[in-house]
Amino acid sequence: MVRLEGLRKVYDEDVVAVHGADLFVDEGEFVVLVGPSGCGKSSMLRMIAGLEEITSGTLSIGDKKVNDVLPKDRDIAMVFQDYALYPHMTVYKNMAFGLELRKLPKKEIRRRVDDAAEILGLMDVLERRPKELSGGQRQRVAVGRAIVRDPRVFLFDEPLSNLDAKLRVQMRTEILNLHRRLGTTIIYVTHDQIEAMTMGDRIVVMNEGKIEQIDTPYELYSQPNNRFVAGFIGSPAMNFLSGELRTGRGIMFKHADSDLTVRVPDAAQNYMSGRDVMPVILGIRPEDIFLSDSPYMEGQTSEITLRIDLVEHMGNEMTVYGSSGTTQLVARLAPDARVKQDDTVTLAFLQNKMHFFDAESEVVFR
């Protein structure tokens, strides 16, 4: 449906916001662009919308190259972060405006706006001005203005970031329901990885203008391509330990900053391509760390002794922050684990959940 080939954006001759992005978004797909602020998400979305000129590369919507097509002729609709509602028009007029410009019959406009208002619960406020609405209602009007157009692609640029936490979660569900109901292709930008994980069919992780990985939420979480993706997706974030892999009796990971030594699966042999020592970064998610005497850990031999700095009880689990020398680790333990601050505990890593990244390129070994 939407195809990006080597799409590049350079501002003011030297600010490279997007380095040659390749992406294909299928019909009806919900694709989320996620990454830290300033990584080029908006630039990419705005190039798709036609609001920013494409520096180089090809953009197609449907089967047509649209690099030089005006926004209004791209058959897209966009929801902006600040909603961009016309302050001097009523809610009805805000939604009808684009249809009037397209010269639709009055009755058809009325029908479409009423339908959208019905779905979004805006029937009672159609005659109000945007400033008389609550934040959530404004957000809905912005969505309504997009759906009455019945476009081929919806573009969302951080649409929920101005809402409070509770409303954000609610609108998340509403947008997902809307997507299910309309089946229209959506490209959605957010800096919030939880929003990305809960909403996207597929997620595009961006960093510093580059696409780091495109995958389903599950793949992204369980098989990150590199250290950036591994650290960005998941909360609390994955733990990283610098060190080296050594061959001896089996393969061991030797941590650089402490005497921590972890037994790693023999498959790691493949990473070393014949070398005896190999600098790597070990990544382990907090939930893949257990107390070494827990029944999960039978047969696992990788152990590390830590002093507990802080324990956060969540009810259904607890987050434990521990350290050994300069190394800090976060672990999510079962709520009944008997640990408290200043305890010294022995933890173990689940062997098949360890990720190894090349120390230099930070790319994962597979």
Binding site: G50, I76, Q81, A84, F97
Partner: protein, 269 residues
């Protein structure tokens, strides 16, 4: 107590300010021989001064000419000023800042410097003794442009982008989004231009000879200093009142928007 002092001061100040205008108004209705004193009252009120004005000069045609010229100029300034201000505030193009600085620079050039070159041009185009010669040279104005640009800058760019996606051309964005959201600035710029243009006497005196094409200030000036008033103060004051009246009316109608916009743009006329 403090409040009363402050109010008294304000009232006294207002009276000092208003007195000359009120005196002028009352004097224009006094018999000529009573104008000499500074009181605001008269033994009887009379239209004689106005009568003389209407009898000696074609004040109606001057009024009409003034209205045509100042409305045309104001309309043109707001129109072309909006186009330029929109482009300078909301469109991206190479050299935009340079152009804007050049426009700012023209504000520093006193009108007197332009008088001769402008006059030469108008003569070349054959626009002397025509209203066109009073209108065309003033169809663009840096002060108005600045006020409009300042106001346009406060409109979020995402609004314009939403409109672009909705299907607006740039021209329609200006009409349907930018203008409706800039009414106070349009009024302020409009009043400033209208007032300045309405009061302009020097330029018409250079360009217009034909009495039927003269504007109010020109006509009133010629009447008061040119002997038409037969050195009588009453008719001179009456002509002055007639000259000021439309501006006062317009100001009264729009004063709220005018003040709020003056305060928000931080500009004075």
């Amino acid at each position: 107590m403090k409040k009363i002092t402050a109010y008294t001061a304000l009232v006294v100040g207002a009276l000092i300010f208003a007195y000359p205008f009120v005196w002028m108004l009352s004097a224009s209705f006094k018999p000529e021989y009573e104008i000499g004193d500074m009181s605001l009252m008269a033994s009887k009120w009379t239209f004689a001064s106005y009568q003389l004005v209407f009898d000696t000069i074609p004040i109606f045609s001057a009024f009409l000419n003034s209205i045509i010229v100042s409305l045309a100029v104001t309309g043109a300034v707001l129109f072309f000023g909006s186009l330029a201000a929109y482009s300078l505030s909301k469109l991206k193009w190479r050299g935009r800042d340079t152009v804007f600085n050049l426009i700012l620079f023209t504000m520093m050039v006193p009108f007197m410097v332009l008088l001769i070159p402008l006059y030469t041009l108008v003569v070349k185009f054959g626009w002397t003794d025509s209203l066109v010669g009073l209108i065309v040279p003033f169809m663009m104005n840096a002060t108005a442009l600045l006020i409009l640009r300042q106001s346009f800058l406060t409109i979020p760019t995402s609004l314009l982008e939403a409109a672009r996606i909705d299907g607006c051309s740039e021209w329609r964005i200006l009409r349907q989004i930018v203008w409706p959201l800039s009414i106070p600035a349009l009024i302020t710029a409009g009043i400033i231009v209208l007032t300045a243009n309405w009061n302009q006497a020097l330029w018409p005196i250079m360009v217009i000879r034909d009495e039927a094409l003269m504007t109010m200030p020109q006509m009133v000036l010629l009447f008061t200093v040119g002997g038409g008033a037969q050195a009588r103060l009453g008719p001179q004051l009456a002509a002055g009142i007639l000259l000021a009246l439309p501006i006062v009316v317009i100001y009264l109608i729009f004063q709220r928007q005018f003040i709020s916009s003056m305060a928000s743009t931080g500009l004075k006329g």
